[in-house]
């Protein structure tokens, strides 16, 4: 899994810093929600800055949809509050919240044309009878469907239907746009182009948006900041780069992208020890002698043939080598202290590394080779036994 964090949101590396204006945008405060005594949301708090695009990511059943429905007013939270534009809307029904929703099923009205669907939420008294049509057409034009205005949803492709649904949600000029897995029913190509389209529109209108997805690539590429949820709790809320680089818990590290976990290291200051290997950490850990887990992404593992300094390096054999298009995936077995590293018969320390094709051909590596492996100090992440990241500035939960 290689998620290239290429995005162009122009909002700086951590646009979340803008969220220090709690009176605007969206604010969720300590929301709890249970169904039949089963907690689905536990103390979820979230602050989305105006114009920000936030993705909510998490495994199935973790409460993403429920969170979105609470924000929309379709579910009433057991406790906690929801603020939109600075005003408390917890007791205000959906109709009064000014939220636009895009559903996974599109939920387009099949007996109305695309134009009528978009015009559905435009009200005569506020918009004026003649300009309703005008405005609906403009919106259809905005999503590139002006020619299909008179078609019924059943006559449009899935991607076109989702565009109509987007136009319909945007028509009454909501202050917040909520999207629940809007792209998951579409095939890969359409999904790619709609991602860009949604982002383009959202930026152009400057609208605050929250999108639920179970596709991490989608979340990483689209969002200004993203939320990772786990079992009804908000685990981490940060920019995609930060979530990828500095996951706050072991769950996030495991859930997003690929990650090597090296278990059972003993911490001593800024050094982690394990069977004769010393690994220097970017910063000293709090308590000496505690057991920690080191983690590193496969693409951060450096492979060489004696070409780099010795810090955090050891020798390993290439157990497997697999071509995966963008590069080679190597399964490495630490060799130097193989005996010492043998971990209760589990076969020693195993590690995966991603090697670019160029580097692989430079090194002329093949399965069975002996290579030197280095774990760059600044790329290491360290987790305490309870699964939280420790010891690094900016790595902990917000």
């Amino acid at each position: 899994m290689t998620a290239a964090p290429e995005k162009g949101n122009g909002g700086g590396a951590f646009p979340g810093r803008r969220a220090e204006t709690p009176d605007r945008g969206l604010c969720v405060r300590g929301v709890c929600k249970s169904f039949d005594r089963t907690p689905v949301l536990t103390n979820v708090s979230l602050q989305v800055a105006p114009g920000e695009f936030v993705c909510v990511l998490g495994p199935s059943g973790c409460g993403k949809t429920t969170l979105l429905r609470v924000v929309a007013g379709l579910e009433t939270p057991d406790s906690g509050s929801v603020l939109i534009g600075g005003g408390d809307v917890t007791r205000i029904p959906t109709a009064g919240r000014g939220v636009g929703i895009v559903f996974q099923s599109y939920a387009l009205f099949p007996n109305l044309t695309a134009l009528q669907n978009v015009a559905f939420g435009l009200r005569r008294r506020e918009t004026g009878a003649s300009s309703i049509r005008q405005k609906a057409l403009e919106l259809l034009d905005l999503v590139g469907l002006a020619e299909s205005a008179q078609k019924y949803p059943g006559q449009l492709s899935g991607g076109q239907q989702q565009r109509v649904a987007l136009a319909r949600a945007l028509a009454p000029e909501p202050s917040i746009l909520l999207l629940d897995e809007p792209l998951s029913a579409l095939d890969a190509k359409v999904r790619q182009s709609l991602r860009k389209e949604i982002r383009r529109l959202q930026r152009r209108l400057g609208i605050t948006a929250v999108m639920v997805t179970h596709d991490q690539e989608e979340a990483l590429t689209m969002s200004d900041r993203m939320v990772v949820m786990h079992k009804g709790r908000l685990t981490q809320f940060a920019s995609p780069e930060e979530i990828y680089r500095l996951p706050s818990t072991r769950f996030v590290a495991d859930f997003i992208g690929a990650m090597n976990f090296l278990e059972g290291w003993r911490a001593e200051g800024a050094i982690a020890r394990y069977g004769g290997i010393d690994i220097r950490l970017p910063a000293p850990l709090g308590a000496d002698g505690s057991v920690v887990t080191l983690a590193i992404r496969p693409e951060d593992v450096q492979i060489g043939r004696d070409l780099f300094p010795d810090e955090n390096a050891f020798v390993a054999t290439v157990a497997e080598m697999e071509f995966r298009g963008a590069g080679y995936y190597l399964t490495l077995k630490a060799l130097t202290a193989l005996k010492a590293l043998t971990d209760g018969g589990k076969g020693g320390m195993r590690l995966e590394a991603l090697l670019s094709p160029l580097r692989a051909s430079q090194l002329k590596i093949g399965a069975g080779d002996c290579v030197k492996v280095r774990l760059p100090r600044e790329r290491l992440i360290c987790f305490a036994e309870d699964g939280t990241a420790v010891g690094f500035a900016g790595g902990g939960p917000e």
Binding site: R69, R97, G98, I101, F103, A107, Q155, A169, S175, G206
Partner: protein
């Protein structure tokens, strides 16, 4: 666009939904719960309103004639069910699993008995097998060898007529059961080398066994609670339904009438519960991956099935044509020249055309109110989110009428609406509801409640087919729920709505059991007129009135069918280019 207000002007849906739910609950309370409560009171008290506990029931079971009526009812119900099920199964099998021609024709003919008041079957049988009947007299002496007297009056007549009466509903249930088949099972059985009879016993029958039990329960209940047929051909063979009528209308013994109706309710409730229990176990037999079975041609089997369908249809047609023939014959059996004089109801009891048009109006209003109530309630239950407990209650109350025989509903209604005062704890309070007695409104409400469940379930099924998020999407657009209902939900469910209206119209037009206690001399009804004219020995005008009811129903059904087809075509247009 960035400077949009966070909040939007909106209509709060909650009060309106609360009012509508309260309306639905009120309707079911007044139309169902209060009458049933009054019925319960009546069967536990004596004529003076004093509490007597189970005395009425003890009297019932110790009176030989009444206990015998219970036995009779059970006997004819069982026999009619046994008589109707095999032909109904064969008929439904022929329509689903063979390649015979004329399936649509056969299906329509089989549904014909639904359009008639149940007395028509009795009257017609009298003209066929009665003392001066076509068969009994050997085609009026022309074929003396044919002249056999089957002893129609009594259990024989009841069983024959009821078997025809329950044919359509059992065929309908079995058609659904047989249509839900999985071709893969049959292929598997064939590849295992099973022969035709083995496949029938090991695949076909197990697949429809719940359909068969369900049809059996429906047959049993219908016969057990039917009033029209035993009234006409029962003779001295008393059953519970006719006994209730005799006690209440003849002897004005309301308490015993209530007691008998509770006795009648018990097996019906048991059948209802058993059927529901079995149906719940059946779910998941056919799933979305099932491949529907396409019948293959088989000359011998198809020929036999075709011949059978022809016979069954002929029997049903013969019954209706006999009634038509008898209504047109000048003086049965002596002068058979055609005349319309029996259609001139002036000289007979029952109210004549006034009664007929009353019935048409009643059926029309029942269709309107019934459709509005059932579809509206189903909409509130399925598509709104607030007031969960109220919606749950509405749902449960909506299922209850299915278990209630028409006679019980009608009886409960007179108890509630015909008493000027309630006596509560020794004190008398005036009954405001008694003002409804003798009005068209009460008849309509009675019909709506009587036929409520089928309409409600049809509406629920149609509503459940719609995307669950329509309402949420509309809410987020600040569109009030009634606007969404009018512009989206209703148009999308229009075919089902029309079907429901048709069902209410046809059922209300033909029903007699519930309304026979509620009509007044100022407000007579066609189906009641049939009973009264037949009672007075005027069989020909009774047949004529029955034929008018059938004709009105066929015409109404045709109109509803056309409308529903047009609505379906519109839905088609949304789907295709």
């Amino acid at each position: 666009m960035t400077a949009t207000p966070a909040r939007r002007r909106y209509v709060n849906d909650k009060p309106a939904q609360a009012v509508l739910l309260a309306g639905s609950l009120l309707f079911m309370t007044v139309g169902l719960l209060l009458p049933l409560g009054e019925l319960a009171v009546k069967c536990l008290t004596d004529a003076n309103g004093a509490y007597v506990g189970p005395d009425n029931f003890i009297r019932f079971f110790s009176a030989a004639s009444l206990a015998r009526a219970l036995y009779h009812s059970l006997y004819v119900s069982l026999m009619s069910t046994l008589a109707a099920l095999p032909p109904a199964f064969l008929f439904a099998y022929s329509l689903t699993r063979t390649t015979i021609p004329g399936k649509a024709f056969f299906r329509h003919i089989a549904m014909l008995p639904l359009f008639a008041p149940t007395m028509l079957l009795g009257v017609s049988l009298v003209y066929l097998f009665g003392r001066k009947g076509i068969v009994t007299s050997g085609l009026f002496g022309a074929l003396p060898w044919l002249g056999i007297d089957i002893g129609l009056y009594g259990s024989t007549g009841i069983i024959i007529a009821e078997a025809i009466l329950v044919f359509p509903p059992s065929v309908m249930i079995l058609l659904t059961a047989l249509a839900n088949s999985d071709a893969r099972l049959y292929e598997a059985a064939e590849s295992l080398g099973a022969n035709k009879p083995e496949i029938f016993w090991s695949v076909t029958l197990p697949g429809v066994k719940y359909g068969v039990t369900s049809a059996a329960f429906v047959c049993f209940t219908l016969v057990f609670t039917d009033f029209g047929v035993p009234k006409v051909v029962g003779g001295n063979y008393g059953v519970l339904a006719t006994d209730i009528y005799k006690q209440v209308v003849g002897q004005q013994n309301f308490n015993l009438g209530a007691t008998i109706s509770v006795v009648m309710l018990l097996p019906t409730l048991l059948a209802f519960i058993a059927d529901n229990w079995l149906r719940r176990r059946q779910e998941g037999v056919v799933n979305s991956r099932s491949i529907p079975l396409v019948p293959k041609r088989n000359a011998t089997r198809d020929l036999a099935c075709f011949a059978f369908c022809l016979c069954a249809s002929s029997v049903i047609l013969a019954v209706f044509l006999t009634a038509l023939f008898a209504s047109l014959a000048n003086l049965w059996p002596y002068r058979l020249t055609p005349t319309l004089r029996h259609y001139n109801f002036r000289d007979y009891a029952g109210g004549g055309y006034l009664a007929f048009w009353n019935s048409v109006r009643m059926a029309g209003y029942s269709a309107l109110l019934g459709t509005a109530m059932t579809f509206g309630s189903a909409y509130l239950v399925e598509k709104t989110r607030k007031f969960a407990w109220a919606r749950r209650t509405v749902y449960c109350l909506s299922l209850a009428p299915l278990a209630l025989p028409g006679l019980v509903v009608g009886l409960a209604y007179i108890f509630l609406f015909n008493s000027a005062v309630f006596s509560v704890a020794g004190r008398e309070i005036p009954n405001p509801l008694s003002r409804l007695y003798g009005t068209m409104l009460l008849l309509v409400v009675c019909n709506v409640v009587h036929f409520y469940t089928v309409g409600f379930l049809t509406a629920s099924a149609a509503l459940r087919q719609l995307d669950r998020e329509f309402e949420a999407a509309a809410e987020s657009l600040s569109v009030p729920f009634y606007a969404t209902f009018r512009r989206v939900t209703l148009p999308l469910c229009l075919p089902a709505v029309i079907d429901i209206a048709g069902y209410f119209f046809v059922s209300s037009m033909a029903t007699v059991s519930a309304v026979i206690f509620l009509y007044t001399p100022d407000l007579q009804l066609a189906s009641v007129a049939v009973v009264n004219m037949d009672d007075a020995g005027d069989s020909a005008p009774a047949a004529a009135m029955s034929i008018l009811i059938v004709a009105a129903n066929i015409m109404a059904k045709a109109v509803f069918e056309l409308a529903s087809r047009r609505a379906r075509k519109a839905a088609e247009r949304w789907r295709n280019r």
